[in-house]
């Protein structure tokens, strides 16, 4: 069934969009990532203009994250206090990010820098996570109980503005989570993603939060950041396609629920190995595209005069 998208100005198969939304939704619920880092390139691949893909994807992530967060709230695996701190940083970050995006656009290099951002961040995050979780898996297989040190006293603990995060069993300064939120907000606006794939590892490895709480808290913050991004794109660029978003999110919300159910049955380490592999695959594909000689050297920019 073909459906004409009013903002993207083209006709796309509705079932293809539902399927894409569903598939990415499962990953979203499973890993606590918005799925944008997969969906945005996929949408561009099927011919949606990049500007529309980025903006609409932000809107779709709102739906799948909200659906996911409700499931996590019921299981009490959301650290709302931590989420609010991350959110404050995220709000500032996404406003900054939109300004950076504008600047890059004027320089005409937005595509390249977005790709480079993807390759660098996905590569580093995926690589670290893969090594760490494989090691953890090996140890559990040998019968050694892996226990993360609860009280790592590093420079993070010397910072002021200490807060108690009951759900995460943490008593740390509010500054690191705020900064993580800020960075993720900037990246979200530039890359058209929720930022979960960076935030989840940052919360586990930098803040030392328990894996169980990380996913729900990440989703909680993503709702806010992508919601703000949607509004900014809708008002500044008019590139949010409601018809596209509805089709993607119908598939996405169902997928997210399935993913959240699956997540209960898979161990934390296994979950992390899978996510790391996924992140690395996307990274390698994008990196290859940057280096490989393209078959077509020319590309058409956006049409003016609309």
């Amino acid at each position: 069934m073909q459906i004409y998208l009013p903002i993207a100005e083209q006709s796309v198969n509705a079932f293809l969009l539902l399927g894409l939304g569903g598939g990415v939704g499962v990953l979203s619920g499973l890993f606590g990532v918005g799925g944008g880092f997969l969906m945005t390139p996929l949408l561009i691949f099927i011919g949606i203009p990049p500007a529309v893909a980025v903006a609409t994807e932000a809107n779709q992530i709102v739906a799948s994250s909200f659906s996911g967060v409700l499931a996590h709230l019921r299981r009490r695996t959301v650290d709302i206090k931590m989420g609010l701190v991350l959110m404050a940083g995220g709000g500032v970050g996404s406003v900054l990010g939109v300004q950076v995006f504008k600047l890059l656009r004027e320089l005409g290099q937005v595509e390249l820098l977005v790709s480079l951002c993807y390759v660098v961040f996905l590569g580093v995050v995926g690589g670290l996570m893969f090594i760490e979780s494989v090691n953890a898996l090996r140890k559990t297989r040998k019968g050694v109980v892996v226990r993360r040190k609860k009280h790592q006293h590093g420079w993070i603990h010397g910072l002021p503005l200490k807060m108690r995060f009951r759900q995460s069993n943490l008593y740390i300064s509010a500054i690191p989570p705020f900064l993580i939120g800020l960075c993720v907000g900037i990246l979200a606006a530039i890359m058209g993603v929720g930022g979960g794939f960076i935030m989840v590892p940052a919360m586990i490895y930098l803040l030392g939060m328990p894996t169980a709480v990380v996913v729900g808290t990440s989703l909680f913050q993503i709702i806010f950041v992508t919601g703000l991004t949607t509004i900014l794109h809708a008002t500044q660029n008019q590139t949010v396609d409601a018809a596209l978003a509805v089709l993607l999110l119908l598939g996405g919300v169902v997928g997210a629920q399935i993913g959240a159910q699956l997540g209960v049955r898979i161990k934390g380490e296994q979950l992390r190995v899978l996510l790391a592999m996924l992140v690395l695959i996307v990274c390698i594909k994008l990196g290859y595209n940057l280096v490989a000689t393209p078959t077509e050297l020319f590309s058409l920019g956006e049409r003016g005069g609309h």
């Binding site: 004409y4 949010v240 000689t293 590309s299």
Partner: protein
């Protein structure tokens, strides 16, 4: 004196009417883009009108039909290798390029259209793509012009239908031009050229309105005129869908 003037006028009109003329019509002058729009087809038909009997001089007549969409400026970027990475290096702004361009003809263009006539009447698409010769001029504008045509051909919005205008006898002609699903809204134009010995001897022009209607129209207008409300509505829909799915699954698990 008056009789003489009348006689002159009569001679003049009959002289004008001597060459064959073209008249044509379209199956539709409006295309509505609805939610399930997946392309459309326009039937172009017409006739070569003569004030005399058909003779040997009609052998070298040709008909060319073009349909083109609204033009707008477009940026073309060229990639180059920088530190081992392919990045957009050079770019050119094409002042105007049509969003859609279809050309159908009775035969190969080399036989029915001379180069001089083509550039005078702007028949083929390369004559519709304009690059300004500005101070910051590009070294080779033709490369960019060709790139626009090639990229748009790949997207299926520029195409040629050589030999697909069907002649019925020596007078009537017809063709079907299919409009693709990724059609852009705007005022389209259909032009029908009659050529003789490669020269355009007559042409006929008519418009096609391509408009979004119904839900498509409503969404598009809201997004452009009340973008804040549109943005908030989009989020509301997203939140409701998220909540709905969550509740649905909770009920299913009970």
């Amino acid at each position: 004196m008056i009789r003489f003037a009348l006689f002159l006028a009569l001679v003049a009109t009959s002289a004008l009417a001597e060459g064959p003329r073209v008249i044509a019509s379209l199956s539709q002058n409006a295309v509505a883009i609805t939610t399930d729009f997946s392309g459309s087809e326009i039937f172009v038909y017409g006739a070569i009108e003569r004030q005399r009997a058909i003779n040997y001089s009609d052998a070298n007549l040709g008909v060319i039909i073009t349909v083109f969409g609204p033009s707008s400026p477009v940026t073309v970027r060229k990639k180059d290798r920088v530190f081992g990475i392919w990045a957009n290096a050079e770019s050119a702004v094409i002042d105007s390029a049509p969003s859609f361009y279809a050309l159908a003809s009775t035969g190969p263009l080399v036989d029915i259209l001379s180069d001089a006539s083509n550039s005078r009447a702007n028949v083929t698409v390369d004559n519709s793509i304009h690059i300004a010769a500005g101070p910051r001029g590009i070294a080779d504008p033709d490369v960019y012009r060709e790139a626009v045509i090639r990229l748009n051909r790949d997207r299926g919005v520029y195409f040629d239908m050589i030999g697909e205008v069907e002649m019925v006898g020596k007078t009537l002609f017809q063709t079907h031009i299919s409009l693709p699903a990724n059609l852009v809204e705007g005022n389209y134009t259909a032009r029908i050229f009659l050529t003789k010995d490669g020269e355009v001897i007559d042409d006929f022009q008519t418009g096609i309105r391509v408009r979004k209607v119904g839900l498509e129209r409503w969404i598009y207008n809201l997004a452009h005129e009340n973008s804040l409300i549109y943005g908030l509505l989009s989020i509301l829909v997203a939140l409701m869908a998220g909540w709905g799915a969550s509740e649905m699954f909770r009920l299913l698990r009970r």
